[in-house]
């Protein structure tokens, strides 16, 4: 830690909304000289938006930015760089076919002096990389480099522009553990050299190990700012997910004498897109009339687990059964036909934006005998059934022939839930069913899930909203690094305990 006196940047009462979604709400943020400041929060908490505002990519609706005690308007990234602010995004802004040096000076040199300055630029780049220990071959093409190298290029780009403040947006999400360690070394060197660093993350461990101070955001609001040495993982976890748990929802018990196992998962192992193990040896079950919640920080294998269970991702090892039928590596349609409903985590994976509501509602059942004969669709029936569903599930739309794109986010989600629940699934796999929807839609979707449970449906609920998991689930499984690290029943559910499990502190059970 270098000198930590003096404020480098102050963001005051920043508010930013996108359409009806409030991304940042009256956020105050302060970055000191020479500190590593962690910006912690779940996906969608407003961390990246806040920093994109500082970097000039977004303009705030209200609030001000004060740099070195002076109020500044940052209208573009170019302006931000002039103010000494650089940002490394999750997705690198690079041209793969150009060399490192070309990428670094891209946008800096004027064309007529291009050739002349390249040698000098190269020299300077080599010098900078020596000072900070950021070794990259300046003449290599970007596409030849590893992800870790490419990230170093991004950092070099910022350093070349002599930034004093560096924002790193979830820099470790693409790195291997070794690369992460190296990155942390680099960050410390930068701070020693007098830079200030904003480190955006949702990983508690990283926030604890690298930062000097941490600001936690939740739902666009600042929950707390703490000195890292004065806090701990459990406290941060609580800040991240929130304490207020909704117990207002009516949970009528499912009173069937015969509970039976609907979903059985045994030793399931699934790989991620990058080829590493995302789900490791997972075993659990879900019974009729039961909601099993999977809690965990995003990116700990939940996505891959859901994709495996719905036939969208290849299962490497282990098996799963629905109602006793082994559906391991079955096609999505086979799984669907064994009465499994699926609310995917991305709305775009569920709806065809340019299709009508009818077409969207019929997407997973148009081929059934009910709606088609000899391959010809029964338009009349499709229409009348859609009209029914839209009314029954209270989807607000001008007509069933409206184009899905025109609906609000909440109504789109209700349309998806309606489609999946109305098929009367035995098992419903719901991934983040209320992500990005307004409070009204959130409540009605939660009630629909509870109603489904009351009727004896089995529901696997994946959510990063801990309050949602706590208020809906009968049992909660906590996933961390692809494993189920703990199971708690509703009665013994305790936010501190779950927070600790999510943070990777294993309890002996």
């Amino acid at each position: 830690m270098a000198n930590t006196t003096g404020v480098a940047v102050k963001m005051v009462n920043i508010t930013k909304s996108f359409g009806s979604v409030l991304a940042d709400d009256q956020v105050n943020f302060e970055l000191l000289h020479g500190e590593i400041h962690g910006l912690l929060g779940e996906n969608g908490a407003g961390k990246t938006t806040l920093m994109n505002i500082l970097y000039g990519l977004h303009q705030p609706d209200s609030g001000e930015i004060i740099i070195q005690g002076e109020k500044k308007e940052i209208s573009s990234p170019h302006k931000a760089v002039e103010e000494g602010i650089g940002m490394v995004h999750q997705h690198f802004m690079q041209i793969p076919t150009l060399t490192v040096i070309d990428n670094v000076i891209l946008g800096l040199e004027s064309l007529n002096s291009f050739k002349l300055n390249r040698a000098r630029a190269r020299e300077r780049l080599v010098q900078i990389s020596k000072i900070y220990g950021l070794q990259v071959d300046p003449d290599a093409c970007i596409w030849q480099l590893s992800i870790g190298d490419r990230q170093r290029v991004e950092i070099l780009k910022a350093l070349y522009r002599e930034v004093k403040i560096l924002i790193l947006d979830e820099p470790t999400s693409v790195l291997t553990p070794q690369e992460t360690t190296e990155l942390f070394h680099t960050i410390r060197k930068l701070v020693d050299a007098g830079l200030s660093v904003v480190f955006i993350t949702h990983k508690l461990e990283e926030a604890m190990s690298i930062t000097d101070r941490v600001t936690v955001l939740r739902d666009g609001k600042v929950v707390a700012t703490r000195k890292t040495q004065d806090t701990n993982k459990a406290e941060l976890a609580c800040f991240m997910v929130g304490r207020e748990v909704l117990f207002r929802l009516k949970r009528e018990p499912y009173e069937d004498k015969q509970k039976y196992e609907v979903l059985r998962v045994e030793n399931l192992t699934v790989k991620s897109d990058r080829g590493s193990l995302a789900v490791r040896d997972v075993t659990f079950n879900v019974q009729s009339g039961e909601i099993v919640g999977i809690a965990g920080v995003d990116g700990n294998g939940q996505t891959e687990l859901v994709q495996a269970l719905t036939g969208l991702r290849h299962v490497q090892g282990g098996s799963f059964w629905v109602d006793g039928v082994n559906l391991t590596n079955a096609s999505p349609r086979e799984i669907l036909e064994h009465k499994v409903g699926h609310i995917p985590e991305e709305q775009n994976d569920a709806l065809v934006a340019n299709f009508t509501l009818i077409e969207n509602l019929m997407l997973n059942r148009h081929y059934t005998d009910e709606f088609s004969k000899c391959g010809i669709l029964d338009q009349g029936k499709m229409e009348s059934r859609s009209r029914e569903l839209i009314r029954q599930y209270d989807v607000k739309a001008s007509s069933e022939k409206a184009i899905a794109r025109t609906l609000s986010g909440g109504n789109k989600q209700k349309l998806i839930v309606a489609r999946e629940i109305a098929r009367d699934p035995r098992l419903l796999v719901a991934a983040h069913p209320t992500r990005g929807v307004d409070i009204g839609a959130e409540e009605s979707i939660r009630n629909l899930l509870l109603e489904k449970r009351r009727q004896g449906g089995a529901i696997l609920l994946v959510s990063t909203k801990l309050d949602e998991v706590l208020s809906l689930s009968d049992r909660i499984l906590v996933m961390e690094k692809g494993r189920i690290v703990g199971e708690v029943t509703r009665e013994e559910a305790d936010i501190e305990k779950i927070g600790l499990l999510m943070a990777g502190t294993r309890t002996t059970t």
Partner: protein, 357 residues
């Protein structure tokens, strides 16, 4: 009355068909106006040139027949492209599929002897359909099994098939007397009969129209059509909903190839009656423009195929009568394509596949 018209204008059918139709017509007219300035620029009279174009394409029964004879393969190949593009399968191989259809139709027409026309004609056309379907199947199976980019395979197959046709015409199938890149005549029992005496207007043209209606029905009212559109609009959502993307694109391309193959078969047994080296003046490539100008709608393709056929038919006359060089006609063609495509496709490159950033 006015109210009824207003209701009609705001009805769903109206929004779906009529408004896009008129915007498209306007766009095409605009391209012609711009082309007119070009004609003016080279010192010719645009009005005289366009009058010559219209006259030579639609001036009398024979010229209309000739235009429609050219529109027929464009229509069928345009439908082939429409179907494939609706599933976002970038089939650039209609030309090759058309040639393959022509080859098989010629084989049946030349070597299957002793058949009555009622059997021989359908058999030749079915052979054409089959040839196209096979040529369409190769790239799609490569895509489905090995993820090979279809733009490359369909494009390259064109050359393979066209050169294969040349080989047949020079070698095994060449006419023993003429010996100049041309096959023997098809047996008359396999010729599609002429519908209007004294012209080349044959029964293949109404057949193509009938097929257009079937394809329109397929796209909007059948299971397969629904899946084709779903896969094209949002493949991930289709997959999540249990639609098999591979199965869908395979069927799409079998049908797409079949349509282009039928275009070739009809051209051989309805017009040319011989398998001639390079018998298609690029119908399969022009079909891409036809499909795009027709906004990837089967009914739209009817109009755009006639439009492009008229441009082909009238090009010579424009040069002769109004002194407009043929390249200028191509230029107008290009303008129509650019103008019409701007609004008819979403700009989405077939080459943009995620390579991990």
């Amino acid at each position: 009355m006015i109210e009824r018209i207003q209701n009609l204008l705001h009805s769903d059918q109206m929004g779906k068909w009529v408004r896009p139709f008129f915007t498209q017509v306007l766009i095409v007219l605009l391209a012609f106006v711009l082309g007119g300035f070009v004609i003016l620029g080279i010192g010719a009279d645009p009005i005289a040139a366009y009058a010559a174009l219209i006259k030579s394409a639609f001036g009398n029964v024979n010229s209309i027949a000739e235009t429609l004879v050219k529109a027929c393969p464009l229509l069928l190949a345009g439908l082939a492209i429409t179907l494939a593009f609706r599933a976002e399968f970038w089939n650039i191989g209609a030309e090759g599929q058309l040639y393959m259809g022509g080859v098989l139709a010629a084989v049946v027409g030349i070597y299957f002897t002793g058949l009555p026309p009622a059997v021989h004609i359908p058999l030749a056309l079915i052979a054409g359909v089959l040839g196209g379907a096979i040529a369409g199947f190769i790239p799609v199976i490569l895509k489905a099994k090995l993820r090979v980019n279809e733009v490359i395979t369909t494009l390259m197959l064109n050359y393979i098939i066209i050169l294969f046709t040349s080989y047949l015409d020079q070698g095994p199938m060449s006419d023993p007397i003429i010996k100049a890149g041309i096959s023997r005549r098809l047996l008359e029992t396999s010729w599609i009969p002429i519908m209007i005496k004294g012209t080349r207007f044959h029964w293949g043209i109404p057949l193509a129209l009938l097929i257009t209606i079937l394809i329109a029905f397929l796209l909007s009212k059948t299971m397969l059509g629904f899946q084709i559109r779903a896969v094209g609009e949002n493949a991930r959502a289709a997959r999540v909903a249990g639609v098999s993307i591979n199965k869908t694109i395979i069927w799409t391309m079998i049908l797409s190839g079949a349509l282009a193959g039928l275009a070739g078969g009809i051209e051989i047994s309805g017009v040319q009656h011989r398998l001639i080296e390079r018998f298609s003046p690029g119908y399969g490539f022009l079909a891409i423009a036809v499909a795009l100008v027709g906004r990837l709608s089967p009914i739209g393709v009817i109009f755009s195929s006639v439009l492009f056929a008229a441009l082909i038919a009238g090009a010579d006359t424009m040069q002769r009568v109004a002194g407009v060089p043929i390249p200028v006609v191509y230029l107008i063609e290009g303008l129509v394509i650019i103008f019409a495509s701007i609004r008819s496709i979403r700009i989405r490159s077939p080459f943009r596949r995620k390579v991990t950033a």
